[in-house]
Every structure is written in C-alpha cells, then in structure tokens.
C-alpha cells in the first residue's frame, strides 16, 4: 500500500483551468474523499493521479516516487469507475480473476487469489454464480473484487455509487468503509454527495472552481467550515446564512446584528465595518420568545426523530432542526435562539470564515 502525494498539480484545457495547483498528501491506508459540485476539478485531479490525464504542471508521487509521467498501467493503481460494469458471459470467479488472467498469472495462483478476495468481500458462496443473476449489492461487490484482486497500491473511485437510490447508497457506504477497515488500502473517492464523503472518509478535500477550499476530517469541516461555500455544501439542510453589516474587534463575544446583540465565539481578528454573514447550523437553533431574531413558521417537515421547521425572517428563510415532539403551527410567530459557541462568521464578499474561538483560520486543523 502507498502514500499518495500531490504537489502544485495544475491542469489547463486551452483557456480553461480545471485544477489550479493542488497540494495534499494522503497517508498510507487512509480513505480520502474529494468532494465538490460537477466541474470543480475533482475528477480531473483523480485522472491525473491515475495517469489517465497529464498535468500541465506539478507532480504526483506514489510512495515518494515521482510517477507524474508514468503511464496508467504502470502505476499499480486500481481505478473503479462504475461498480456495475461486469462481464456478463463470465461467472463471478471469472470476473474477479480476469485482471490476473490478462497479466498471465498461473491458474492455481489465480484461484487462490480469487478465493482470498471473495473471502474479504464475503461473497465466497457466489463464486460460481452467473453475474446476471446477482442482486445490485452483490454486483458491486464483484466489481470491487475485480479491482482488489491485483492487490494494487491504491484504489481510485469516481462516483461509484452514483447510480443507486439514496437508501441503498448509504448502506453501500457502510460496506465500503468496512471493507476499507479490513484491507487498509489507500483510497481516493470522488463524489458530489456530501453524505457519502462524511460517512466514509478519514479526510475530505472540498473542491470548488478547481481549487481545494478546505481539507480536514469530516467533523472538523462540518464544525469549522473555512468558507461560505464549504458551509453550504456540507450538511443537510445546509448552514443558514444571515446577512448583516458590521465591524469586529478581537476579544468581542457578541455581534451587533441589525440592532440586536447576538453572542458568538470570541472574535480573533479585526474587521472594518462591512458586509458579514452569521452562519447557523439548523440543529443549533431553538425557539424562544425572548430571542432577537423573529419570524413566522413557513413549514414543518416531519422526519421521525426530528423535524425541520422553516421560518421566514426579515433576513431570509431559516431552517431549524427540532425534536419532532415539539408542536409547531404553520404561520406561528416564533423567536430564534442560537447556540453561541457553535456559530460561524464569514466575510460576505470573499466568503472566507472569520477567525474566532471556534474557527482558527485557514491553517486550522
């Protein structure tokens, strides 16, 4: 297995720069997710690491060795596009063993490797089955087995679960992570689905417009987003953004929010008066008549354990996650109280998070 390192990796297509110079190191055995909307450069980055695309600039190192210009087949990396692509005329063992057969391995060795792979994936009982007879989940396991059987240094996966419905996708996430915990293969996983990234990854790189906006552990990124973009992309419903105008001084523990005072984590940087954004996660909101932000309930969405209550305020529509036992009437006037120590502040113009006792700045983490 291997450490993957990317240095100043850049890719331009004519006038368009797809990747603006990425730098990150993925430790050996780690599960790394590249997360972002379509067009953010995540797939291009992955293809450069795989050797399917040559970078305009920068280097890719595999276990310290520069492989930037080595062709894909010589990189000892397994690339998994869509987990469903199987050879229909072969049985499960044939599908899994195929890459070894192509490499000219002997039959007995192939049989042993296939058996070992099947054991890791817990599909030993399916080895002689036709692939067309398999369930969706088993087809995915077989496709994974075909990638695993070569014992590559790393797995690169590009939205492998994209075609599945939401509930099954989350189930497969658990399974992929369990498999990772058994074989500890360095994995890079590209997705636009924040739930997949949060659920599986040790580290997430959030990408936007060809740049990595933040790298960190899932909970770290959720709790301390470095920008408005990250805060909006992670979490469902996403963080609420309440605009206001104001200046900040280090040491202050409250902001002047439209003539009201709202407690926030201690400010750690000075800002001249300008447009700012208060960021509030839905689960950090509670109803309270005395609260400074008032609004009217627009809708309540029952989710079993909790409910998402949307409230129209003078500063926009706000989503709050509340216990489902709370009775909420549509049109009801409510006050919104925020949990001070979890609030985030952003520069409305640049989108960057402002340093506070909760958020340590761009170098945080």
């Amino acid at each position: 297995m291997a450490e993957i390192r990317v240095e100043n990796l850049r890719k331009s297509f004519d006038q368009f720069t797809a990747v603006h110079g990425s730098n990150f190191t993925i430790p050996d055995g780690s599960f790394f997710a590249m997360l972002g909307p379509s067009g953010c450069g995540k797939t291009t980055t992955l293809r450069m690491i795989a050797g399917l695309e040559l970078p305009t600039d920068g280097r890719v190192l595999l276990d310290g060795e520069d492989v930037t210009f080595r062709r894909a087949a010589a990189r000892d990396i397994a690339f998994v596009f869509q987990l469903f692509a199987l050879y229909p005329h072969m049985n499960v063992a044939g599908n899994i063993g195929f890459p070894l057969k192509c490499a000219g391995m002997g039959r007995a060795d192939i049989r042993a490797r296939v058996a070992e792979t099947a054991r890791l994936l817990r599909i030993e009982h399916l080895l002689s089955s036709k692939t067309s007879k398999l369930s969706g989940g088993d087809r995915q396991r077989v496709a994974l087995g075909r990638a695993m059987v070569r014992r590559p240094k790393a797995f690169l996966m590009d939205e492998p679960l994209g075609a599945l419905d939401a509930e099954f996708r989350h189930l497969m996430c658990s399974e992929l992570r369990d498999l990772h915990d058994r074989i500890h293969a360095t994995t890079i996983y590209v997705t636009h689905d924040q739930l997949e990234a949060m659920s599986m990854a040790d580290t997430i790189a959030v990408m936007n417009g060809g740049r990595v906006e933040q790298i960190g552990a899932p909970q770290e990124i959720y709790d301390r987003p470095a920008s408005l973009f990250v805060a909006d992309f992670i979490g469902s419903p996403p963080m609420n953004f309440l605009k206001f105008e104001g200046g900040l001084k280090p040491g202050e523990r409250a902001i002047d929010f439209h003539d009201a005072s709202i407690a926030v984590p201690e400010i750690r940087e000075a800002r001249a008066t300008g447009p700012l954004v208060l960021g509030v996660r839905p689960e950090h909101i509670r109803f309270s008549d005395a609260a400074p932000v008032k609004g009217r309930v627009f809708g309540a969405e029952y989710l079993g354990t909790t409910q998402i209550v949307t409230v129209d305020t003078p500063y926009g529509r706000v989503a709050a996650r509340l216990p489902s036992s709370l009775h909420v009437g549509i049109g009801e006037a409510v006050g919104l109280n925020f949990r001070p120590e979890r609030l985030a502040l952003f520069d409305a113009t640049s989108g960057a998070a402002i340093r506070t006792a909760n958020f340590g700045g761009a170098g945080h983490g």
């Binding site: 419905d165 939401a166 509930e167 989350h170 658990s174 992570r177 369990d178 915990d181 689905d193 739930l195 949060m198 659920s199 552990a217 899932p218 909970q219 959720y222 709790d223 992670i234 979490g235 469902s236 419903p237 996660r281 839905p282 689960e283 627009f298 809708g299 969405e301 029952y302 989710l303 079993g304 354990t305 998402i308 949307t310 996650r321 489902s324 549509i330």
Partner: protein, 341 residues
Amino acid sequence: MADVGLHNISKRFGAVEAVRDLSLSVNDGEFVVLLGPSGAGKTTTLRLITGLEQPDAGTVLIDGRDVTRDPPGSRDIAFVFQQYSLYPHLSVYDNLAFPLRSPARRVPEPQIRKRVEQTAELLHIASKLKNSATRLSGGEMQRVAIGRALVRDPAIYLMDEPLSSLDAKLRAELRLELKRIQIELGATILYVTHDQVEAMTMASRIGVIRDGQLLQLGSPREIYENPADSYVASRLGTPPINFLPARLVPDAAMPAGTETIGIRTEHLEIGKRNGGSLIGRIHRVEHLGEQNHVHLAYKGEMLVTLADPHQMLDAGEEVELHLNHPLYFDAAGRRIPVTMQ
C-alpha cells in the same frame, strides 16, 4: 376539489397481480402519498384512477360518482409525471395556458391569462412567462410542469414521482413549495414516490404499499411511531429501525409470540458498562455532522444508534445497551400490540 375513493380494486397483467384488493380514500383537501418500492403497484394505482387502465375488479369513485368505466377525458383529473414533458416550441406562458385552451373547455382568453398569471405567481415563475420552455433550469421546468396541472381546477391532482429527476437541494426546496401550494389551494393530491422523506414531509396521510397491497394508511407520525408490521417499520426512518431476534434479549418482558424486537435508532441508548446484561461493542462511529451514527455489534447482529457528534466513543469499546420503547413483532412480522397496564 373533491374526494376520491378506490374500493377493492384489483388489476392483473398476465401472471403479475399489480394491485390486489386495494381500498383507499383521499378526502377533499388531503395530500395522500403512496410510498413503496418500484414494482409495488403505485403507478398502476394512479393509472387506474385516471382511466388509462381498467381494473379487473372494484370501483373508482370521484366525488361520490362511480367513474370506473368512464373514459379518461371525462374524469376531471390533472396528472403530473416524473419527466417535465413540456412543449419545447412554446413559451412558459403558452405551456401553462395549453390545458385551458383545449377545445373541450372553451375558456375565454382573459380568464386564461388570469389563471396562468396566478399560477405562475404561486410557483414563483412569474418573471419567466415569456421564456421559451427549454431555456429554464431543471427546477423551473418542473415548476412549469406542475403549473400546467395547477391551472386547471380538477377534482384531484395525481403526481407520479414529480421531483425524482431533480437534484437533492432543489428537491428539498420544491417539497416545501408543493406542500405550501397544496395548503393554499386546499388541493386534493394523490402522490406516489419511493422516497420516504418526501412521504414523511408532505403527506397528510401515507399509504405504505408493497406487492400491490396497501399495508397501512395513516399520518406520518402514526406510521412511524405505530407501524402495523415489520416491513412498514423498516420503510420509514433513517437510519432504519434495528431488529433483534427475541431470543438474543434474555430476561426482557415481552408479549407472548414475540419473534423480533424493533428498536428505533433514537430509542437504542448506549452507556458505560454498569451492571446491565446487554453488552455491545462499538464497531464504527460515522460522523455525519449534526449527529454520529454509532454502529454496534451485539451477539452477531449489527445495530445502529445516534449519538451527539462530540461524544467521545471509540471503535472496540464495550457499551451497555438499553432498549427504550421496543416494538414487538410475531413470526409473520405482524406487530404485537402491548396493552398498557
């Protein structure tokens, strides 16, 4: 608007019983969601109401009138499909006006203009009326498709997964909008989906359907808290309810005949070992931001519970399990009611 009733409807396609003895009423002003996997008979049920299919047995009533043998055109129904199906050569305005311009309806132009403008206002697409239908975003196109149903004032709106082709964010937005519009108009809607979140968040009542049979009909809260069987229990809730074979929970008081115990994730409590008899081992802690999903191994079964994201829990740790508000199911999966003492 009006109420719609299905009485003992059955429909067979060759060897497949698509709908089996299904009875269902949608009351005036109600938003009923049929929830089920693909192939459960949801779409067939809608098509039977429209008259695009004829039932083998049973009756369809609209506003108390038996319409079982009436042709589709005379049933006073508006249908919204999964695909946008707009007329690409027409403007948004003309797409919305189209159903009212049907020669059978003869709605005067000024009245059409009024209806179209009201509908566009309701759907927040008033500024797009002059646009060509193809020059809209996915969300706007689906709003127009819904709007084309709303310009009419039919007895009932039938909707077949109208949001499923949209991305997650837009879907969440339109869920709220659709519910608001339904309340504002007092519209009667029968909506089918395989998405439990859509069902839970929009429905006045959910009908859980499987293999052509209606398993349970009730408010989202009733279905979630009081499921009739283990399938219904598993259909609502993310992460799904935990099931434990009763034999793995010794010394628990449970009704006679209990084979399986169901515990919702929020009712599975974990704590430090403190003399309790149910000991599980933490397999993995999944960080999802607003909460953690803690995966536990207990006597060979995997269970999931919820935890605060900042609670310190490590894989491998042994914890004591407490099963709060358990649901009991018999060998056939039917719920065994517990009588309060």
